[in-house]
């Protein structure tokens, strides 16, 4: 007993030190086996995760007996006006921790010491927390906390109390085996050998697979007890005699000359039998797990359609591909991003499957304008990386259905003679639907007084768009424009760059123009938008067009909920139908009012036909109507760049950056303009700014590396090439080739 106890204790120490941590990447494709009761997988720029529901738990099989440290990466994000959530963790029903989760992603560690009895095979880690209903959530979910990963690390240091109880139990099992054999008629030597054999077996199994061996040993204990009790009850004396005789024969055999060989053969057979049993057991367990996990899904969802099954496997990606397929003709030639960074959207073969018979072409910026056969571009958003990264002459931009929720408050018109508030909504329609080119679904009455907010006088819009450039909601006014006028409103939306204020001005000649404010820049935050000095803008625009400006009137004020970012790759999945300039731009717009979007469309049409000078003119017109549109400045910068006018190009990019400071790509393009103009130091600064904003895109690293290489700073250049390579992987694109060549070249030189 004493020897077995010591050996067992040592074996446990050895076994635990051999165990490796188990990591569950919550939100990864492989997490289904472990998580229950969570919301669907989600991804952001950095990782994948899931939000908890009130009854979410993580389940780890076959480790219930092992003392472990759990590390949970949890984010208890809440809106500013709400307190951080209280989280309670329970392991197999016992409270393990009770804490307040921070509003950012943090790792929390807890020790789990399993109870010796009753033994449990699995650990069910229950996560309970306060819940909240985010106003920006399109599905109206209630969320607990965000879980990014769960790591279970076995505790390797001695846990005396835990081991001692278990060791004593197992020693007791061996002792009982000895006693059972004795009582069944085995000799003392035979019973002793039997006990030792059991000990060896237990030790060897423990060494191979300690987790299961613990369970096995406890079962063995139960089994011995059952056998012993059964033996006594049923009086299987005959078997006792047989075993006794076998024991005597073993003793006799050991003394005979051939006996040892016979024993060796016996041991060999037993070893093979044990090996087969272990291999079968492990194989059956793994196969069973696979079958059970599949069967569970099938049982719960027996009648899913093909679409539903594909959606369950490909989540949002399937809907995206189906959307693109339904939005493009079968003979379309669609340009896709390089696979270097857009692993999914850039995988031509994969995309081919979903979009067949539509044909694909890999990114080729020149072909967008010059190749008549290219008809569409994907709008990709893989892992938060947007594509395309260049100006595109778009005929139509179709987004996957986007639910836009917009709240409006404190809508005011300021004139020299006073302030007019538009907040007296009782009994009248404050903003009537005026004009639209939107393709949209109106889920709720589009304009209601929102009762959900503290300020019940806010206007609330709830619309789902698939395509739009404008969707004006206006209120008719009749104000002569002969003095400075400005319009202001507080706006909140679930999506950035989608809402702006508008004002229509009618000229005495019968022409009209629509002036806009910059769009909202953030999601789920109140922002004050405004059209400043409308009088000067309207006067300048009218004079520019040769219209009489005396007597012009402000005829409509309101807002545009269908605003679309001019650079279509921002914040969304979709497809762009390219404008090849086949139709005349006048017919293509079909819109008689001079608004900024119309001029942007005209500019794109000219751009598509290679009429750069006219395109620049139209962009400049657009800027007169909407001087704060950063993307129009960017498009202008692109055209100046194409004309090798680096001074103008850099100026336009700079203005775009002032208006859209958080877009890394703008810095990159400004850096390229500086570099092409020979201003290397400024270029370096802009590339570094790009890296700071978007640290996981390879272009800026590559451009910086090339500058440093030219300047002879080879170590720095090599490091940057290497970093670019880490991001780009090896893909047959120009960037990846440049990276590989750079590494090879500098590797040799260094």
């Amino acid at each position: 007993m004493a020897v077995s106890a010591v050996l067992l204790f040592l074996t446990f120490q050895l076994g635990l030190s051999m165990l490796s941590p188990q990591m569950i990447d919550v939100g990864d494709q492989t997490d289904e086996e472990y998580v229950r009761g969570f919301h669907q997988r989600e991804r952001n720029e950095w990782s994948s995760f899931r939000w908890t529901k009130p009854d979410s738990y993580v389940m780890l099989a076959d480790v219930g007996h092992i003392p472990m440290t759990f590390s949970l990466a949890i984010n208890g994000w809440r809106p500013e006006d709400q307190a951080a959530p209280q989280v309670v963790l329970l392991a197999n029903g016992r409270e393990m921790a009770n804490f307040v989760a921070g509003k950012e992603l943090r790792t929390y560690q807890f020790r789990y010491i399993p109870p010796v009895l009753p033994p449990s095979r699995k650990v069910v880690l229950e996560i309970q927390s306060d819940i909240f209903a985010p106003s920006t959530d399109q599905a109206g979910r209630t969320l607990g906390v965000l879980v990014d990963s769960v790591v279970a690390t076995p505790i390797a240091e001695p846990l005396w109390s835990f081991y001692l109880v278990l060791v004593l139990l197992l020693s007791l099992a061996i002792g009982m085996g000895y006693l059972a054999l004795r009582s069944l008629g085995g000799g003392s030597w035979f019973s002793f050998l039997g006990g030792l054999l059991l000990l060896t077996l237990a030790c060897s199994i423990l060494a191979i697979c300690p987790l299961r061996a613990v369970a096995f040993s406890i079962w063995a204990l139960g089994f011995c007890a059952v056998c012993y009790v059964s033996g006594l009850i049923v009086h299987l004396k005959g078997y006792g005699d047989v075993l006794g005789r076998l024991g005597t024969r073993v003793q006799t055999g050991l003394r005979s000359p051939g006996g040892r060989t016979e024993l060796l053969h016996l041991i060999r057979r037993v070893a093979v039998l044990v090996a087969i049993a272990v291999a079968l057991k492990v194989g059956l367990t793994e196969s069973w797990r696979y079958v059970v996990s599949e069967f569970r899904f099938i049982r719960e969802n027996p009648y899913l359609t093909y679409e539903e099954k594909m959606r369950s496997k490909w989540v949002g990606w399937y809907d995206y591909m189906i959307f693109v397929r339904d939005s493009t003709p079968p003979d379309a030639l669609i340009m896709i991003p390089p696979q270097t960074l857009w692993e999914w959207s850039g995988n031509g073969q994969l995309v081919s499957f979903f979009l067949y018979p539509r044909r694909l072409i890999l990114e080729n910026r020149a072909a967008v304008a010059t190749d008549e056969t290219v008809s569409h571009l994907l709008v990709a958003h893989d892992d938060g990386r947007d594509w395309p990264k260049f100006a595109v002459p778009a005929e139509r931009i179709l987004y996957m259905p986007q639910r836009r929720q917009v709240w409006v408050d404190d809508f005011v018109l300021k004139t020299a003679s006073g302030v007019v508030m538009l907040e007296d909504f009782e009994g009248s329609t404050p903003l009537a639907h005026w004009a639209s080119n939107a393709r949209k679904v109106v889920a709720n009455p589009p304009l209601i007084v929102d009762a959900r907010t503290a300020d019940s006088r806010s206007l609330y819009f709830d619309l789902t768009y698939t395509q739009s450039e404008y969707d004006y909601w206006g209120r008719a006014v009749d104000i002569v424009l002969n003095e400075p006028v400005s319009i202001e409103a507080s706006v909140r939306s679930n999506l950035p760059h989608r809402v702006n204020l508008i004002a229509e001005v009618r000229y005495p000649s019968g022409n009209s123009a629509v002036f806009g404010s910059p769009p909202n820049t953030e999601s789920a935050r109140w922002e004050v938008l405004g059209i400043e000095d409308l009088y000067s803008r309207a006067r300048d625009f009218g004079m520019h067009n040769g219209w009489p400006v005396a007597g012009m009137k402000l005829s409509m004020i309101g807002m545009n909920t269908g605003c679309q970012a001019s650079m279509p790759y921002q914040e969304g999945w979709g497809v762009i139908e390219l404008d090849k300039g086949v139709q005349g731009p006048e017919q293509a717009t079909g819109w008689g009012v001079n608004n900024a979007q119309r001029h942007v469309r005209l500019a794109r049409a000219h751009e598509a036909r290679g009429e750069t000078v006219r395109a620049i003119e139209e962009y400049q017109f657009a800027l007169e109507l909407e001087p704060s549109n950063g993307w129009v400045h960017f498009a202008l910068g692109e055209l100046y760049f194409a004309q090798h006018d680096m001074v103008q190009s850099a100026a336009s990019y700079q203005r775009a950056i002032e208006l859209e400071p958080d877009i890394g790509w703008l810095h990159f393009r400004l850096g390229e303009a500086y570099q092409a103009g020979g201003q290397t130091d400024q270029a370096v600064a802009e590339y570094e700014a790009d890296i700071e904003i978007e640290p996981d895109t390879a272009w800026a690293y590559l451009a910086l590396a090339s500058i440093y290489e030219t300047q002879g700073e080879l170590d720095r250049a090599y490091e940057l090439y290497y970093q670019a390579g880490e991001l780009a992987s090896f893909d047959p694109t120009a960037d990846a080739i440049a990276v590989r060549e750079g590494i090879a070249r500098l590797g040799k030189e260094r």
């Binding site: 087969i276 492990v282 196969s287 599949e294 081919s352 499957f353 067949y356 018979p357």
Partner: protein, 480 residues
């Protein structure tokens, strides 16, 4: 579903005369299993040749070709093979039922477990459509292109991106197999149903190969070990090439061993055909075939059967080469991956750069990783039995040589990847070895288990230690 099953049945029907012609003395179930694999070879090769000849592979065209081929083979069987064996094979199902003895309790349990696993894989395959990444991106998309264009060249030439070079990278067996299903029953058919039957065929052939040397209990236990080997069940139910490839390669190697060691008639030709179809299924498999050649060279020298071995190589090339030639000359593809030139250039590069021990050390770490993932406990089990069998090493020397040659190719392959192809990109290297490398090892599982089962210690266990267990039966009145 029924149309899919009909399509699979037709495939087995097409393969049946080929088995009669090549291997006349085979048990019925084993013949059926072989017919399934060879049938897919016949159907897909038929479609391929139609495409080469410029005849669109519509359903009537393929059916006409296959009926002509099947009838011709039937006529050949009547002329050349022993007709009595044909008749015996034809009446085999009835005969099988008549001769089937009452299985013992352990045999019933084991058989039930194997059948359960097969049915589980079948159900999973029937429920889910083709959805895994490579299955869609590499194989199924080509199938839909083939059906639409009516020919391989037509399908590839229509694509701008991915270019034909990329589309023709993987051999076309599984894509053409999917096409066959879609042609027969429309694109709503579930092509995943093809794969569980490949695994069932492999199990049947494995069992009967083993049954020649072991007891029924031992064969069943090892068949169950094979079914529950890592990823076997998964690959049985997904539309990857891994299971068909494992079927062709493992069956080819078992057939080769049965010819080398047991001198079974027709098995050399069968092995060559199956090797060829393995190369027709998955890219970069040629080195595994080349590794067999030294083993056969030794056999040639010992037994003076050079003509048979030359015929073996010729038959392999007849099946394996047309696709490579078609890609090179028919599609004018620039892709060279998997070609002999490519492999030779890699070998040259390896010799030129010399042995880089640091990289080779890393490579062995990766080998261990892939080994563990693909083989699990099968590998230590094989090693253990091989060690216990050291005294009788010569008894199954050919099998050991074959196994060693295949394992050596894998190890060498990883070394090449680590030292020549991806020396500076550990992430890509890791991905290639752990994914593609692991899948390439699946065919080795049946071989390792087969060797373990026929070693003396295992035989001893079943003949002496467990002989009593094999006879445990339920009383007749409690039989189900």
């Amino acid at each position: 579903m029924m149309l899919s099953l009909l399509a699979l049945l037709l495939v087995a029907v097409f393969g049946f005369p080929i088995t009669l012609l090549i291997a006349p003395r085979v048990r019925f179930l084993e013949r059926l299993a072989l017919a399934y694999g060879l049938g897919w070879g016949a159907v897909t090769l038929g479609m391929f040749y139609l495409s080469v000849l410029g005849i669109p592979f519509s359903l009537p065209n393929i059916a006409a070709l296959l009926v002509v081929v099947t009838l011709s083979l039937g006529w050949l069987v009547r002329k050349t093979a022993d007709v009595s064996s044909y008749l015996a094979a034809a009446s085999a199902p009835r005969d099988l039922l008549r001769r089937m003895k009452r299985p013992s309790l352990p045999e019933t349990v084991l058989l039930s477990a194997i059948v359960f696993c097969f049915l589980a894989a079948l159900l999973i395959a029937a429920y889910w459509p083709v959805h895994t990444w490579d299955a869609l991106a590499v194989y199924d998309v080509r199938a839909r292109m083939f059906v639409d264009a009516g020919s391989i060249k037509g399908a590839f030439s229509r694509s701008v991106y991915p270019p034909p070079d990329l589309l023709s990278l993987a051999p076309p067996l599984t894509s053409l197999a999917h096409s066959w299903l879609y042609l027969l029953g429309g694109e709503a058919q579930n092509a995943r149903l093809i794969y569980p039957f490949f695994s069932a065929s492999l199990i049947v052939i494995f069992y009967y190969s083993l049954r020649e040397q072991c007891s029924a209990l031992c064969s069943l236990i090892f068949a169950l070990l094979l079914v529950t080997a890592p990823q076997f069940l998964y690959f049985s139910s997904v539309a990857y090439t891994n299971m068909p490839y494992a079927f062709y390669e493992a069956t080819a190697l078992l057939c080769l061993y049965r010819w080398l060691s047991l001198h079974k008639q027709g098995y050399l030709a069968l092995s060559a055909l199956l090797f060829g179809l393995g190369s027709w299924t998955k890219p970069a498999t040629d080195p595994y075939f080349i590794a067999i050649l030294p083993v056969l060279a030794v056999y040639c020298l010992q037994k003076r059967r050079c003509i048979a071995v030359a015929g073996f190589v010729a038959l392999f090339l007849t099946v394996a080469m047309p696709w490579k030639l078609y890609v090179r000359y028919g599609l004018s593809s620039a892709q060279v991956f998997g070609s002999l030139e490519y492999e030779a250039s890699i070998a040259y590069e390896l010799i030129r750069t010399g042995l880089n021990w640091v990289q080779i050390g890393k490579a062995f770490d990766l080998v261990r990783l892939a080994w563990n993932r693909a083989l699990g406990l099968i590998w230590p089990f094989f090693l253990g039995t091989a060690l216990l069998n050291l005294k009788n090493l010569k008894q199954h020397g050919w099998l050991l040589l074959i196994t060693a040659s295949q394992a050596a190719v894998f190890v060498a392959g990883v070394c090449v990847f680590a030292t020549v192809i991806y020396p500076d990109d550990p992430r890509e290297l890791y991905a290639v070895v752990t994914n593609s490398g692991t899948r390439l090892l699946v065919f080795l599982v049946p071989l390792l288990l087969y060797y373990a089962a026929i070693t003396k210690p295992v035989k001893d266990l079943f003949e002496v230690g467990l002989s009593v267990v094999a006879q445990i039966r339920l009383p007749a009145d409690r039989q189900p």
